[in-house]
Structure formats: structure tokens, C-alpha cells
Amino acid sequence: MTVRLHSRPRLHFGLRAPRGQAIRDWLRPVMLLARREVRDQLRDWRILTPLVVLTLFFPLLANFTARRMVAYMERFNAVLIAERLFPFLLLVVGFFPVSISLVVALESFAGERERGTIEPLLAAPLTDAQLYLGKLLAVLFLPLLGSYLGLGSYTLTMMLRAGWRPDPLLLFVVWLLSTVQALVMVSGAVVVSTQATSVRGANLLASTIIIPIALLLQWESLLIFWRQFEILWTVVAGLLVVSVLLVRMGLAHFSREGLLGRDLDLLDVRWMARTYWQALTGGASSLRAWYRGPLRESLRALRGPALLAALLALLAFVVGAWLVQPYPWPEVDLTPERLERLRGTVALQGLPAALQIQNPWGIWWHNVRAMLLMALLGVLSFGVVGLFYLMLPFGILGAGMVLAQRTLHLAPWWYLLGFVLPHGSVEIPAIVLFGGATLRLGAALATPARGKTLGAFWLQALGEWSRVIVGLVLPLLLLAALLEAYVAPRVAQWVLLHVVIGGGG
């Protein structure tokens, strides 16, 4: 007999897109899988009990707490604080059932693997994406349902018993927040579950999700107490992007082989060091061969990300310049007497303290620290946050250019030639290279690993990133620091004396 395949149409994330009936056909096994899992969860009292308690009991407890708190605060005429407690507890009530999703999601693949039930599924005619999405939907369904029920019952009881009249937009944004938080947690936990070899391993790795989410919740609570509800929309958008990236990452690194092949979660430091070293050296026999071979190869692969980093830097420069345009900056009153005095000061005493010669090693180390922080943020955010950090100094430079023009009548080219390019001609390429490499490193997590484990793939990416950093960025930054310490101040002094004070601009 012939069995129809579910594989031809593919749904998402750069894969072929199905249409109409094809979408339904493609989704059918996804829904089948999800339905089975949900039914299984409904038969497991260990999942049901906390879910029911958190969904039904906790909203009532929150309701009681809120009303008692208001009554208490009223005695001190601090009703405002108590009122802010209502939306805060709404957030908490929405989050608690969602927290269960983490437990269920962490064992979605690792648990099936441990119980030996995964192989028949892997041998069924399902694509990786169908299998992955089926699991994802299944672990999302009950906790989200619990969250919505909790939100509903809390809101309703607060309206009826405490006379709370919440802003519908606030309700909507908290509802959205609960949904995207669940999405982020579940998609992150499913990634962990596919990579761990046991439920225990997955639970140990869960801190990578719990800690950021706990910090996020604290921040969201602060926003609610400060009544900065608009910022919550930004949080929703950000979390949505993160959850999409996490799903993309999960799909990219989902491997039937990995699920069946790995047996132990061992920390093999030797293997890690070897893999990293091989990726860093690229098998080159000498430094010269390394520069000519592996490093050049990495640079070639970096063309796209570096171009993107350069464009973003340029964009940040333009945006920085544009943002300060509307502000009425006062012009510096450069009367002939003041100019003469300034000329004397600059000629005799040199530049103002901020522009004086500094220790080049200090400059270099400062830049290296900033970039390492950017790399860390980049890795944690698939390269995205790292780029924002890259854009910041360029935005300041753009703003500085406009300010110099407005206040000192300094033409943009003099500003660039005198204050930016003497060391920037070396530092800017280094920053762009670094930005591109970091973007590539961050994006590696969401890139299909082609038969490699996530760890091996990431170590390879880290090795290639290190090639660019060690071979180019750090030396360029050192050169830039020397220029910034010994050349840039003299050029700046010359521009101040001859262009700004001398009227050359």
C-alpha cells in the first residue's frame, strides 16, 4: 500500500512554503503529535495537579492578597502603590501556570529518549520540523490555557470584588506578555531538551532559561509599578523576536542522529580544547600560512556580516546626527578676545584634559573590554544586542559632528579629519570586523549544524571568530590605541588652533 508523505510542503524559517491544502496536510501530523502529547499530559497527575492549583487557586489567593493590601495601604493613604499591585499580580497570575511549561518542555525530547519512546517517532514519516513543532505546540498548550484561565479568573474576581476597572490595553499587553514568555521559555526549553541526553541533564541546563526569565520578570514588575506600560509592548516585541530565533535555533540544530547517538553528557575539556584549537589554527603550519590560509578564508566568509555591520554603523552615525538636529544648541561665543586667549592656552598648555595624551595600553584595554562585552551580548542574543552596542559609539560620533558644526562652526570634514579619522581610520575597520564576526558567531546558534553537534558547531564558530579577533582586530586596536595616544591629540590640537580658533573652518 502507498503511504502519503507529509514532507513535500515545508512551512517556515527559510524552508519551502506550502499553500492552502498543502499547509493543512503538512500541519496534520503536527496536530496529531500535539494532540497525543496533550492527552498524555492530561492523564499525568504530576502535571495536572500543579497546573490546576496554579490556575484556579492562585488567582483567588492573588485576589485576596490584593484586596488586603489595598485595605492596609488605605490606612496610610498610599492607595497608589496598592493599585499598582493589581496589574503586577495580574502579571504574576499569568506567569505561574506558564512556569509549568518549562518542566514539561524540558522533558519533551529528553524524556522520550530516556523512556525509549522516541525511536518509533523518529522512524515515522515525519519531517524534523513537523516533529519539532508538534512537540512545541504540545508543551505550550496546557500551560497557556492555564495562564489564560488564571488571567481571566483573576481579572473577573478583581472587577467583581475589588471594583477594579483595568485598562483593556493593559489586559491585552499582559495577556500578550504571558503568551510570549511561555513561547520563549518553551522554545528555549525544547532546544535544551533536544540537546540533553537525559531529563536530569536538561534540568541542569534549565538555569540558562530560568535566570534570564527571572530577571525579565523583575524588570517587567518594575515597569508595572512605575506605570511604564508602553515599554511592555517593546518587551513583547523583543520576546517575540527571541522566541522566533529560539525556534529557528531549535530547528537548525534538531537532529535525529543526535537524539539517538549521544549517550552521556560528558564535559570533555580535552575534546573542547582540541576542537577549538583546530578551528582557530585551521591546520596551518606557520603564522604566515595561517594569515594566508585560514584567516583569509574566515575573512571571505565574513564579507556579508561585516558589510551589514558597516551599514549599521553608518546608519547609527546618520541617526545620531539626525537625533540631535531638533535641539537648539547654544553657539559658542567666539569673540576675537576669547579666541586669542584660547589660542594661547592651547598653544602653551596643549589640549584640554579630555584630549590629552593617554596611556595607549589603557586605551587598548578599554576597547578590548568593551568589545568582549559586546561579544558576550551578541552570543546571548544571536548577534543582535551586540550590534546595538556596536552602533552606539557611531551614533555618538554622528551627534558630535552636528554639535561641532552648530557650536564651533566646524565643517563635518574637519570634524572627521581632526577628531575621528586619525585613529578611527584603523579603529573603525577593527570595530566593523569585530561586529561582523560577532554577528556571525551569534547567528551560528541559529544556523543548521550539518551533521555536527551543537557544541562542536559552536566551538568551530568560536574558533573562526577567534581567528579574526587574534589575527586582525586586536593588532588593529593596538595600532589604533597608539595613534589615539600619540597622533590624534596633535592632529586635534592643530585643527583647534588652525581651524576652530584660526577660523579655517
Binding site: L32, T117, A123, A124
Partner: protein
């Protein structure tokens, strides 16, 4: 390629630098049951997983039910029925729910699914327990249910990994009988097993996998023939007391016991000379109770191929 249920050429699989399977060349036509024998770690399960398109081969090619495991893994998975080493049953489901779930994954329409579920539950004597949770099933029942799952979509290629492992003799017997019944002209079956008797009972051909390579393939009779000329045993009614009868020069004595001895005919001679030998012994006054061939076991062949390192299997 279409006459072959399975055709594998130079199949190999490497994990982190270790070759789990080095070189597997197999062909299993429809209508044949092939037993894949081998010690632990020989690569049986990895081979099966490659043939199921769950693992991608590192090298080599394979076609299962006419589809390439490398290029059409989905079609391969749809065409084969797999009994995995661990039965992989969901304990909170009933047998009917479980089979329906998998039947739907294999895209069987409702009417056919119902027929197939009923058919296989009855075939494996699970019908009376169909509404009981799988968690309450015995090992044998679970294995039969897993087999029913593998057969639900009537696959033309059936891959069975250790189908009777950890089963009591009665259950194992029932499962073996079921496999024999499943043999048909348009179905190719591969059974991975440690159990040599089982292999001999159910397989048309046997392949011995050792250290990731197919070391030997043939019918059970072919494999036994590898042990050389048949051996015969003469049992006497009195002890030999260290004295052997006068035997023709073509007789090579292989073992001597208290009241018996074993021999082989030298190359060129044949067992058709046994009556002459018997007459000679009787003439010399030896009270012969029996002269019979020594049964040759597959185990001997197996041990000869895998050596002592595989003897634990």
C-alpha cells in the same frame, strides 16, 4: 533495484571519529527473511537505523523499498515497518489509541485504519486487551503490540531489531511464529538478533556482522558447510579402554571418548563409505550401538567468525 527490498552498498557510519559500521553490503529480495547476527557493538542497530533513514550514512548507498535512504528518507520511512530495540510504547495509552495514533501518522484513512487495527490486534491475540492501558501489559504483549505498530501500514520492508529480546520462551515462540507467518512474496524482512537458534528458525539467509563489516552471508546450510566435512560419531556398547579399532586410512579420528569416537572422512572420500566402516567394525567384534552424524550448530560458525571477543554476545 525494484526486485530488492533492501540493497546496500558499502554502507558506513561514523560517530565522532569512531566507525560504528564500516562496510555493509546487503541485498534482501522480496519474499526473504534475512537474519543479521553479530555480537554487541557489531553495528546491527546502527545498520538498521541507516536502513530506516533515521541515521544518514557517512559513506555508501542504500535503497530500501526502491528509495534511496540518503535522498528520499521520508519515502523510506513511509515504506518500512520498524520494530525498534526498545519497543517505544506510550504506557498511558490503550493499544487501540496507540495503533490509531501511529496509523494516522502513516496517513491511513479512517476505514482502513480501523480494519488494520482490528486485524493486527487479533493476529497478535491482543484483541481482548485492546482497551487496557499499555502500562499493564506484559513484556511479550508489549513486543507484540510494537510489532503490530510496525505492520499497521502493511510495509513491504520490515526491519526488526531484537524482536524476542528479554521475552520468556513462550512469548518468544509466539513472536517467532508470527514473523514466519509474516513472510510473503512481496515482503522483505530483516531481523537483528543475538539468538542463533532463532536466526536458524526464521531466516532464509543469515548475515554475520562483525566489527562493522558483513563477515559472512549465506543460508544456514551454507554457513554450516563452512565447517568442512561432516563429522560422525560411533557409539559402542563397551569402553574403548584406550584402544581404537582398526580404521581405514581415509578415516580421520577427531575425538575419542570412553565408549565412543568421532571421525571425518578425508578429502575425496565420502559418507557413502559409512556402511563399509560399520561392517569393518562389526567384523572386528566391536559392539556398535550407533553411527550418526554429529549435529553442526550455527554457533560454531558464529564463533569461528567473531572469535572469542564476540563470544559474550
Amino acid at each position: 533495484m525494484n526486485e530488492w527490498g533492501i540493497l546496500a552498498q558499502g554502507l558506513g557510519k561514523q560517530f565522532d571519529g569512531f566507525w560504528a559500521v564500516r562496510q555493509v553490503d546487503l541485498h534482501v529480495p522480496y519474499g526473504e527473511v534475512l537474519a543479521l547476527l553479530g555480537p554487541n557493538g557489531a553495528g546491527k542497530t546502527t545498520t538498521l537505523r541507516m536502513l530506516t533513514a533515521v541515521l544518514t550514512p557517512t559513506r555508501g548507498r542504500a535503497w530500501v523499498a526502491g528509495y534511496s535512504v540518503r535522498h528520499h528518507p521520508q519515502r523510506v520511512r513511509a515504506a518500512v515497518g520498524v520494530l525498534t530495540e526498545q519497543h517505544g510504547l506510550y504506557k498511558r495509552m490503550t493499544a487501540v489509541e496507540y495503533l490509531r495514533f501511529f496509523g494516522q501518522l502513516y496517513d491511513l484513512d479512517a476505514a482502513r485504519l480501523q480494519r488494520q487495527v482490528d486485524k493486527w490486534l487479533q493476529f497478535f491475540d491482543l484483541w481482548p486487551l485492546r482497551e487496557r492501558r499499555i502500562g499493564g501489559y506484559s513484556k511479550g504483549m508489549r513486543q507484540k503490540l510494537a510489532l503490530a505498530r510496525a505492520l499497521l501500514h502493511e510495509p513491504r520492508v520490515l526491519l526488526l531489531d531484537e524482536p524476542t529480546s528479554a521475552m520468556d520462551p513462550a512469548s518468544a515462540h509466539r513472536v517467532r511464529a508470527a514473523i514466519r507467518e509474516l513472510r510473503s512474496a512481496d515482503r522483505a524482512i530483516v531481523v537483528c538478533t543475538h539468538n542463533l537458534t532463532e536466526a536458524e528458525q526464521i531466516a532464509d539467509r543469515i548475515a554475520i556482522l562483525h566489527r562493522g563489516r558483513i563477515a559472512l552471508v549465506g543460508t544456514p546450510a551454507d554457513l554450516k558447510a563452512r565447517l568442512g566435512e561432516p563429522e560422525f560419531e560411533v557409539v559402542l556398547a563397551r569402553p574403548l579402554n584406550g584402544t581404537l579399532p582398526d580404521l581405514p586410512p581415509l578415516v580421520q579420528v577427531t575425538r575419542v571418548g570412553t565408549d565412543r569416537f568421532r571421525f571425518r572422512w578425508a578429502r575425496g572420500a565420502s559418507q557413502r563409505l559409512n556402511p563399509l566402516l560399520l561392517r569393518g567394525l562389526l567384523t572386528q567384534g566391536w559392539p556398535v550401538v550407533a553411527l550418526a552424524p554429529v549435529p553442526r550448530s550455527l554457533e560454531q560458525v558464529y564463533l569461528e567468525v567473531v572469535g572469542h571477543d564476540g563470544a559474550s554476545a
